[in-house]
């Protein structure tokens, strides 16, 4: 036996192993330092470029001064410096400026939010979810923006605008100092390009196109003036023109040739906003995170307060709460029961501020009753059946028990606080007798004693209710409704589905009843969902609802530009929908949010919480800043 494995051997062996591990670790460390240095080099290159530009401009000013031409006009040659005394402060920045005037205002720190579902893409026009549009709102800008207090339109990229008498033409004068985040100035041709890009059939943006289609033409009158011309009067015309995000022509135009590459891209995002992606072409969903940092070339009057904005993708509900509790994200929106439990947590209350409010853009949830499935008229085509289902849906109990009171019954698609709503309408309360009466009138009774009611032909009243399986609250509501309907002899079979499958079913109109929600705005246009024309053509009237009277009212309202004449039309439309019940409108939910205490200047405006206002109104005082750079 030649080989002895003694203690000496063992210690030598372990020493070698430790040495190897140390070498590996130091290799890793050096590699990290290298990539960090490369990053810094890149930043310095950018700054050097900016410096050179500024030097050139200063030299030009010097030359002009020597020649005796005193430069008074502020517009043409400054980039990012505050506007001179001549041009008034842009209204859009009014609130942000008052935030900077607070005593403890300090730029810096990060604002970390969470996203509940994985993002597929953040490329504008291709992305379809609300999270991507939130991210894009910090990077892309539009001509106008809405003032959170007065709800009036104020100019952002546009200095001012004129509406011609016929109400069909809008002329916008752009500010001359707007630049994109890569230094290229923003001109009228970018606005024109944005319009053409959306309208190009090769780009897969059918939703946006359906709205922008109303614009007949967009022309650049000169370098900084744009004219929008509409085909016919449209009540939302200014909003449409002013709200279009301006895309950079030099960045996006090459993609017109390679349209499919654009359509399946994950992150092509470049704009003139206060923040920018470090790599405007290279974001991919597998990072699980979206990070935008301060745009060093931002043209606006006020620089944004946060150095960096992050959105972390956290799909698991409890992980999201734990991350909030650990202080790794700064905002958390809670579900009703959670909210009440969290209110009892003293530690959390001391660390955070909480808000509960009804956001005006809060949508409503509903159950849509399909009136025509695969060419056959369904039982829901009978108005009495639909009204009976509404009587059976005990919405007050849903709000009290499942939403714990954080919601209100929805009577119609219109915001109850807006003028579209007829306040004399009262919601139908739960009434089993009335429902049974209506069903009996429609010909339903229990003929064979098995507990389920049947119609004239003997078919039992059973149907499938399709819903998105990922939402816990929806699931609870559906299970509750199942038991409620059972008390009237109706068998409801819940059908949980994946989101993509559900969109597919919607497209094919292949469902009995479906539970979904729509978001609202300040003024809701119901054309897309309830007009008879939208049943085919990929419209959103997937319940096959057609009422000629309603159609006429909608058409009329949409071309009435005068608000005083338009609102009564909407109210009449609302009355019709109240009688017809194409959907059983469920409820509008309150938002309950917890926000970390270090965020200052949090306020509720007419648009809701000012958490996603751009320009940014929040800031963190110097002493409480957590993150650096």
């Amino acid at each position: 036996m030649g080989r002895h494995f003694s203690v000496k051997d063992f210690s030598l062996f372990s020493f070698l192993v430790v040495l190897m591990i140390i070498m590996l670790l130091s290799m890793y460390m050096v590699d990290r330092q290298w990539s960090k240095m490369a990053q810094m080099e890149r930043l310095m290159d950018e700054q050097a470029k900016d410096l050179r530009q500024m030097q050139g401009m200063v030299r030009n000013i010097e030359k002009d001064l020597r020649k005796g031409q005193v430069v008074v006009a502020p517009a043409s040659q400054n980039t990012g410096i505050n506007a001179s005394a001549d041009t008034p402060l842009p209204d859009a920045f009014r609130r942000a400026i008052s935030a900077t005037r607070q005593d403890d205002y300090q730029e810096g720190d990060w604002y970390v939010q969470s996203i509940a579902t994985g993002l597929k893409t953040i490329t504008p026009l291709i992305s379809q979810d609300v999270y991507s549009s939130n991210i894009q709102s910090y990077i892309l800008e539009s001509l106008l923006t809405r003032d959170p207090d007065t709800l009036e339109w104020v100019g952002l990229i546009a200095k001012d605008w004129q509406i011609h008498e016929d109400g069909l033409t809008f002329t916008f004068n752009l500010r001359e100092n707007v630049v994109f985040s890569d230094g290229t100035p923003l001109k009228a041709e970018d606005v024109v390009f944005s319009y053409q890009f959306i309208m190009d059939e090769r780009i897969a943006a059918p939703r946006s196109r359906a709205y922008i289609e109303k614009i007949e033409s967009v022309t650049a009158l000169d370098k900084f003036t744009v004219e929008f011309k509409y085909k016919e009067p449209y009540f939302n015309a200014l909003s449409l023109a002013g709200g279009m995000s301006i895309l950079a022509k030099h960045f996006y135009e090459p993609y017109l040739e390679k349209a499919e590459e654009f359509n399946q891209s994950k992150g092509l995002l470049l704009g003139s906003g206060p923040y920018r992606l470090a790599d405007p072409k290279g974001w991919t969903p597998d990072q699980g995170l979206v990070e935008v940092d301060r745009n060093p070339r931002y043209w606006g009057t006020v620089q944004p307060s946060f150095d960096r904005l992050l959105w972390k993708v956290i799909e698991n509900d409890s992980a999201r709460l734990t991350t909030f509790r650990n202080g790794e994200i700064d905002v958390y929106s809670a579900r009703p029961r959670e909210y009440q439990n969290l209110l009892k947590d003293d530690d959390l209350i001391n660390r955070t501020q909480h808000f509960e409010y009804m956001s005006p853009s809060a949508g409503y949830s509903y159950i849509g009753w399909n009136q025509n499935k695969s060419g056959e008229i369904t039982r829901f085509a009978d108005r009495r059946v639909r009204q009976a289902m509404t009587y059976l849906t005990d919405r007050q109990r849903i709000i009290d028990e499942i939403m714990l009171g954080y919601g209100e019954i929805a009577i119609s698609p219109f915001n109850p606080r807006s003028n579209q709503h007829d306040s004399s309408l009262k919601p139908r309360d739960f009434d089993l007798k009335k429902a049974q009466q209506l069903l009996a009138e429609a010909g339903y009774q229990d003929t064979n004693g098995d507990g389920i009611i049947e119609d004239q032909t003997g078919t039992p009243f059973e149907f499938e209710l399709t819903y998105f399986q990922g939402n816990e609250d929806t699931k609870r509501i559906i299970l509750f409704l199942k038991d409620l309907y059972a008390s009237a002899g109706i068998l409801m079979k819940p059908k949980p589905t994946e989101w993509s499958v559900m969109l597919d079913l919607l497209g094919k109109r292949d469902f009995d009843a479906i539970s979904l929600g729509w978001s609202s705005g300040i003024e809701t246009d119901i054309y897309q969902m309830f007009h008879g024309e939208q049943i085919d053509n990929n419209g959103d009237n997937f319940i096959h609802y057609k009422n000629p009277e309603l159609d006429e009212l909608i058409d009329q309202a949409r071309v009435t530009v005068d608000e005083k004449k338009r609102m009564p039309l909407w109210q009449q439309a609302e009355n019709i929908m109240f009688q017809d019940q194409p959907y059983t409108f469920l409820m509008r939910r309150k938002t309950m949010a917890f926000i970390d205490n270090r965020m200052k200047n949090v306020a509720i405006t007419k648009l809701g919480l000012n958490s996603s206002s751009v320009p940014i109104e929040w800031y963190v005082p110097q002493t409480q800043q957590k993150y650096f750079h």
């Binding site: 670790l25 897969a204 059918p206 399946q264 734990t322 990929n538 993150y627």
Partner: protein, 461 residues
Amino acid sequence: MYTYIVRRLLLMIPTLLGITLVVFIVMASAPGGISAQSLVEGQNLEPQAKKALEDYYNKLYGLDSPAPIQYLRWLNNVSPVGFTFDEAGNLDGFSLFKGSDLGKSFRYGRPVTDLIAERVPITALLNIISIPIIYIIAVAIGVRAATQRGQSFDVGSSAMMLGLWSIPTMLTGVLLIGFFASDQYWHWFPTSGLNDRVALDMVFLPHWGSLSDILILIFSVLFATAFFIWMSRWSKPYTRAACFAVIGLLAGFFMADALPEKEQGLITYLMITSLAAALFGAVAYAQYSVLRVFFMGLVGLGIGFIVAFYFQEGPFVRGFLLDRAWHLVLPIICLTYGGFAFLSKLTRTAMLENLLSDYARTAKAKGVSDNDVLWRHVFRNSLLPLITVSASLLPSLLGGSVIVESIFSIDGMGKLAVEAVKGRDRELVLSITLISGLLTLLSYLIADLCYAIADPRVSYE
């Protein structure tokens, strides 16, 4: 020997083919199968745009051809030897050095090789750290149990190992996170990920503020560890147990104190302190000196660190390395306990077999010392089943990583696999299958080779 290796490597190819074929058949026969349909659906597009996007995907990934052709095309892409195609997709020629192209992921839009190259090191990190831990603990427990057959240590550890093996990984993960990584109970460990966001910008090694801090650290750690190791070597078991149980009582008290207000109650205090005292006392009482010394030394180390941190004055920067290590503690616990429970039982069985063999009896009769008989003769022969099992250890760790990575939100291969499957990402699923199959077969091969090295009787000629 070399012909054997070459033969095994060649035999791997049909097996790999078979694996990918099975997976491909499953995917293709699913309702919806693999077609551009499933990629384009759910995007609510108008018909022409949908058609255009479908055509694009068909051209890019070849999804319109029938399933066997798709499989053959994928095979061709993957194998380093195969047909080459030019830009328009026409047959160009046959090349021996084509290089393998794993394709592009549908969901992420990036080449699969990039994705996997980013994720493999993380899973590898988890597994490479787990494997030595598993083996060391398994050998320590298994050998002792075999030599003390039928006595308290054997019975106790057998039952405990079986129990540990039966606890599902996800239950452990959930409990660990719920109790040790959340605000409600103890918040000693981070909840998820491999690093805090801030740590990514930190320096690599930890930094202390002042020299005195480092000195305090070194001094207290050395002192405490030395003290406890000395205590563990006292000869009277009862005194040892009593002293250490008192330490346990104090430790339990501090632990219960660290709970948030809501959870503190008389019962909690009593429960935790008595459990801690009992555990510490039992360990100190144990006859098994290796375990005892190790555990008490570890406790000493911990106490040294805690004392040092309590007394430090200057700022302390955690550093990337420590941050990563801190994040790794809970996932590694979840990964290793099942492995070492299973392996320790295996070691015990193998050792028992060999302890009763003739050659062991002969050696003892010859006068060889007990220690030598155990380690130089019996243990070396018991290594063989351990090595055979290690072949299946790596694949089971890869499987275990799937759950652990999902629970702890670690972006490794396991999580990638789950997401790929949920997203029906054909390229990604096939590539991951290929790579894990390759790794499994390679580990079988390495296990067989180690077997040949360890046992001179085995020859593969």
